[in-house]
Symmetry: C2
Subunit: 214 residues, 2 copies
DNA sequence: TAGATTGTTAATCGATTAACAATC
DNA sequence: TAGATTGTTAATCGATTAACAATC
């Protein structure tokens, strides 16, 4: 029955963050309300798609006017669980890991990276973008004491599964995985796999067909 | 008719890179052939989906045996246009830009970042991960002289559209956009928008429903 | 009021999954 | 040979798009 709460197609969920962005922009431009059409125009999407998506935010719009921007933002954030910020650990402070540590937009996305971990002893005790780097050994204890549930995995590919196992063992319930195409985890652990190459593949194929057409 | 060449659903294209990864792994483990089922097992996907996807690679498999790993890799790479490596410029050498400059896996994905550009004069002439950083003013000339067609856009959000316009003006035909949720471009320019928040949104929603179930 | 926009139900489209004959 | 796997056609499923009444 809680299955019923899940709903909203995943493609819809993926689009929510950009709607939030656009709402922010429209607000900055001085608007108080925004219609599905307004949002669609900015993103060059179809109004009907945005309208259908927004229905999941459970916010009432006014015919002819649209939605109150603040209310709609709140509804979207609430749907995504981004009202209260969750703490996260970042594991693997290499190039990508450091970049993510330096990204200050996560707070807006309900995520607060509280510390980093790395196997490299040279990084121990250092700060990267203001975040303390701990040795891997400290992880289980800190997960426990700080009740952190989310980890961002940016270790080298070959270490990914092993470190993921450690994270799960330590009690992490959500892994945002940039390290490998797939990671094994028990059913009660959520793994979100990111693969930077997917987007590049799409770009490559589109470019090839575009160049063919000219 | 070149429209016919385009085919392969975009979701299929997005999955190709991970298939390549798995093939590499299976090869490293000493295998010469791999079946759709083998790949599916590693990625915990359905064999029928992998089989259907692989059909687009135009490589003949042998019943009971599967595919020759090298042949299949070649077929997938060829489909993606990753046989010949394309040069690319990276624009915006901040945290994320620097991380991408340091990622040495792009060559395998048919991409070679030849140089970076940044508006910050302090970076001018420096090298980041071995790549030279040029001031923005040099971009048009270098795009022209080096015949670069692809740009990776990692500038701050507010500058995204303006810089994209400059890139297009300079002759760039493909923009891999990490800077803003959407960028305006003429029809003959391909823009691939990446939004790191999309994956986080999915993770958040899955985590929330998972926690509800327990 | 007139008409743009919402909210919702129905139609369409495309991707995933199933089924199964061919075959190594 | 027996049976696992390919290649392909058909069935299903789910997301996108269309249609339209309600309404501010």
């Amino acid at each position: 029955m809680s299955k019923e709460m899940t709903v909203a197609p995943l493609p819809t969920v993926r689009r929510f963050p950009s709607y939030l962005r656009v709402l922010e922009q429209l607000k900055a431009e001085g608007n108080v309300t925004a219609s599905a059409t307004d949002i669609a125009n900015v993103l060059k999407q179809k109004p009907i798609q945005v309208r259908k998506d927004l229905a999941y935010a459970n916010v009432a719009g006014k015919p002819k006017v649209g939605f109150d921007i603040d209310e709609l933002s709140k509804g979207l954030r609430s749907f995504l669980g981004w009202e209260k910020v969750s703490d996260a650990f970042l594991v693997g402070a290499g190039a990508l890991g450091s970049a993510l540590l330096g990204y200050d937009g996560f707070n807006e996305y309900g995520l607060n990276i509280v510390a980093a971990f790395d196997a490299n002893p040279g990084l121990e005790g250092q700060k990267i973008h203001g975040k303390q780097v701990f040795p891997m050994e400290k992880l289980p204890d800190l997960v426990n004491r700080m009740k952190v549930k989310i980890a961002i995995l940016t270790v080298p590919r070959d270490a990914a599964q092993e470190i993921a196992d450690q994270l799960i063992e330590a009690g992490i319930k959500g892994i945002w995985n940039f390290a490998a195409p797939y990671i094994n985890a028990p059913d009660d652990v959520v793994v979100q796999n990111e693969n930077i190459a997917s987007g590049l593949a799409v770009l490559s194929v589109k470019l090839a067909t575009e160049l063919d057409n000219t």
